[in-house]
Symmetry: C2
Subunit: 425 residues, 2 copies
């Protein structure tokens, strides 16, 4: 009697999947814009046609999460509602409308020996995308990775596994239907953490990993991964209200940056106010912020000026609240503001409100953050807002991409050299 077949274990299963992705990436690199856009639009149609089926599958994930006692906000993120499905379809159409970065040539020059040297834009290869509970990210991330000519391995939260697998099947069907390799997008069919750990060792297959989620997930991915990781840990964003600035503008920037969507990484977390403006700026600004439901945690100087303010503790300065909470500090001058940002900022987004040319230029030059703004809300650190067309994430790593990452950041360049028999002396 033959021995029962052994289960291969998550490491072997993930490795097989990664090897298939690498094979698919070679084919994807040669795919033209026409095929890639046809795939995106086919998938949009397939999601629209399969909406009821998707919602049925999704309801199983939701039911299981409910039984596990997950809170309502978690269940909400997990749900493929009609609104979420429409946004996915719109997203696919938007990505299809974007220019294909692959194949464009940059800066062709002729060397003294006649060699013509240029850089041509190529896909990165295989991208691992590791995310938490929203199943719509499966489609959003796949669309951008594939349009840029990459293969993608998708590992979402285990609570969304059924939904992700259903979306993954639709993606592969659309790939196959439009002549692209089905293995160019694969959802990892395993729920355990061993699968992620195994994936992160496979630097011979994966060219990049992008983790999206909480700081704990991102730290654990960064510590395990052998391949490059693009990520940001958190966004501790500041607005510096400079001496002599327009108070109405500063108030409007602070309010927008804190209140418009407090749960995101480019929301404001700390307001720095020049000492010369504190007395006239802070009381009305604080009233407006309080009216919008914002709790203010204040340094001693600002606490004296703000009715209902709470004293800030040391742990407030590096905090990313992601909530209607704002820390406030009065600073002596631009230097102290710059020192505060260097000490507590997260290299994400920093803004100054000023009328002074020299201080505006100094702030832009000296602040080390992926996006630095003068007289604009921190909420503009976003690929769509800054003109990248779409966004796969925001990087506070300085290599490869610093700031929002669009299609172009999912590619790289290789050198091509046209010779006529040149050899080296």
């Amino acid at each position: 009697m033959p021995a029962p077949e052994m289960s291969p274990g998550p490491a072997a299963e993930v490795e097989r999947l990664a090897a298939r992705a690498a094979g698919a990436a070679r084919l994807m690199a040669g795919a033209g814009r026409r095929e890639k856009d046809a795939f995106l639009l086919d998938l949009a149609g397939r999601i629209a046609a399969g909406a009821d089926e998707l919602k049925k599958t999704n309801s199983k994930d939701i039911e299981r999460a409910r039984l596990d006692g997950r809170p309502p906000a978690f269940l909400d993120r997990l749900t493929l509602s009609d609104k979420v499905l429409s946004a996915m379809i719109q997203g696919l159409e938007d990505v299809a409308a974007l220019e294909d970065p692959v194949g464009s040539m940059e800066g062709m020059t002729v060397r003294p020996n006649g060699l013509k040297v240029g850089r041509v834009r190529i896909p990165l290869g295989v991208i691992g995308f590791i995310y938490e509970s929203r199943p719509n990210v499966t489609v959003d991330a796949a669309a951008l990775c594939l349009k840029a000519g990459n293969a993608v391995i998708l590992k979402g939260g285990s609570e969304a596994l059924e939904s992700n697998l259903a979306l993954g099947r639709l993606i592969s069907q659309s790939l196959g239907r439009t002549g692209l390799p089905e293995a160019a997008a694969q959802v990892v069919p395993l729920a355990d953490r061993a699968a992620v750990r195994a994936l992160l060792k496979l630097d011979r297959y994966l060219d990049l990993v992008i983790p999206r989620g909480g700081e704990a997930l991102i730290r654990s991915v960064t510590e395990t991964a052998r391949m490059p990781v693009l990520k940001h840990y958190k966004g501790v964003c500041h607005l510096f209200v400079d001496q002599g600035c327009d108070h109405d503008m500063a108030r409007s920037l602070a309010l927008n940056a804190k209140v418009q969507r407090p749960g995101v990484c480019n929301a404001l977390e700390t307001l720095l106010v020049h000492r010369a403006e504190a007395e006239t700026f802070l009381p009305p600004a604080a009233r407006e912020l309080s009216k919008a439901g914002v709790e203010l945690r204040c340094c001693p100087a600002s606490l004296a000026l703000i009715e209902g303010g709470l004293p800030a503790k040391e742990e407030d300065w590096p905090a990313e609240y992601l909530d209607l909470i704002l820390s406030v500090r009065v600073v002596d001058d631009l230097d102290q503001a710059l020192d505060h940002i260097a000490a507590y900022g997260s290299h994400h987004t920093e803004a100054i409100c000023t009328k002074d040319y020299a201080r505006a230029e100094r702030f832009l030059r000296e602040v080390d953050a992926s996006v630095v703004l003068v007289n604009a809300s921190t909420r503009f650190n976003d690929g769509g807002q800054l003109g990248l067309g779409a966004e796969i994430g925001i990087s506070t790593d300085k290599l490869h991409a610093y700031g929002p990452m669009g299609l172009k950041e999912l590619t790289t360049t290789k050198f091509v050299v046209y010779g006529q028999g040149q050899v080296r002396d």
Copy 2:
């Protein structure tokens, strides 16, 4: 009686050094080209004036290595000869003549809401440079990192420690003399491996690590490092001799790529010959290569055509010989050549010799290597040769820099946004 002061241990010492580097990096980011070039030229003068002293210090390292029984080639690499010192001085002058990439603005656009968005080029921050026995690398690497506005931490081979420390002192003196922070370049004053391991954990201070040396060194750095690493493991470079190509050109390319400097990463390791050309191309090409001292390791088809050839084993195809050895394989067509390169290549440098337009374009498009050449020697994968001015290394990682890395690759960009009070809807 007070307890004797404890030695802080390598981890604490390295951390203190990294923190100093991060402080220096903030100042370096604001340094202008004038100061940076003044530093480079001051250092060139200091090395010229201190040549005798440097050679005396260097002789201690050499003596110790000799007593340790190191081979002559090792002692040669370790030696700061007059020729090496002159090359270091020339290198400093060359880097001073290069344009400063920092501060240039790329692609400023205006968004529909009036925001002006651009990307300005900035230094990476703190670079860790880990290398083996050549002490001249201390100066070459520091020059490029500092000209690009970075701080650099230099960890060379322990056998060269005295020489590296002496060069590090000159670098710091020149930095101080020209108003730049002395801690912008620091030689790690420890010989043990624990120092490197500690350094590679400090991703909160170091933005990048560049290892230069043998494959074992590079693998160990990559597995330990928490920050991005730019490197190549090895260069297994191919030349494909296409059907109908110019045989004289193909022979000259093969000879140059294999023989001109066999010990370097862009030297040729495998010759792929189209079946239709093998009988007429291989015998005379092999004679010429043999005359130049090259040992040929041949597939069965080429073995039958090459006098004095040796049979190739499977382990020859992925081998980086770095020596006067060449593997030879006859292939059926371009497809088989592309498959061979995909299976055994190292994404470093690949070349085709051809007269055919379509196959040239297909080779350029489908080969996944940092530099792909038509009708030119693989030896041209070099920052100087490709017009980057100078080179800190060659990357076969696809992120940030794929291919030779010059000054620009030691920088990144941040977004700057000029607003007039814009907020997000």
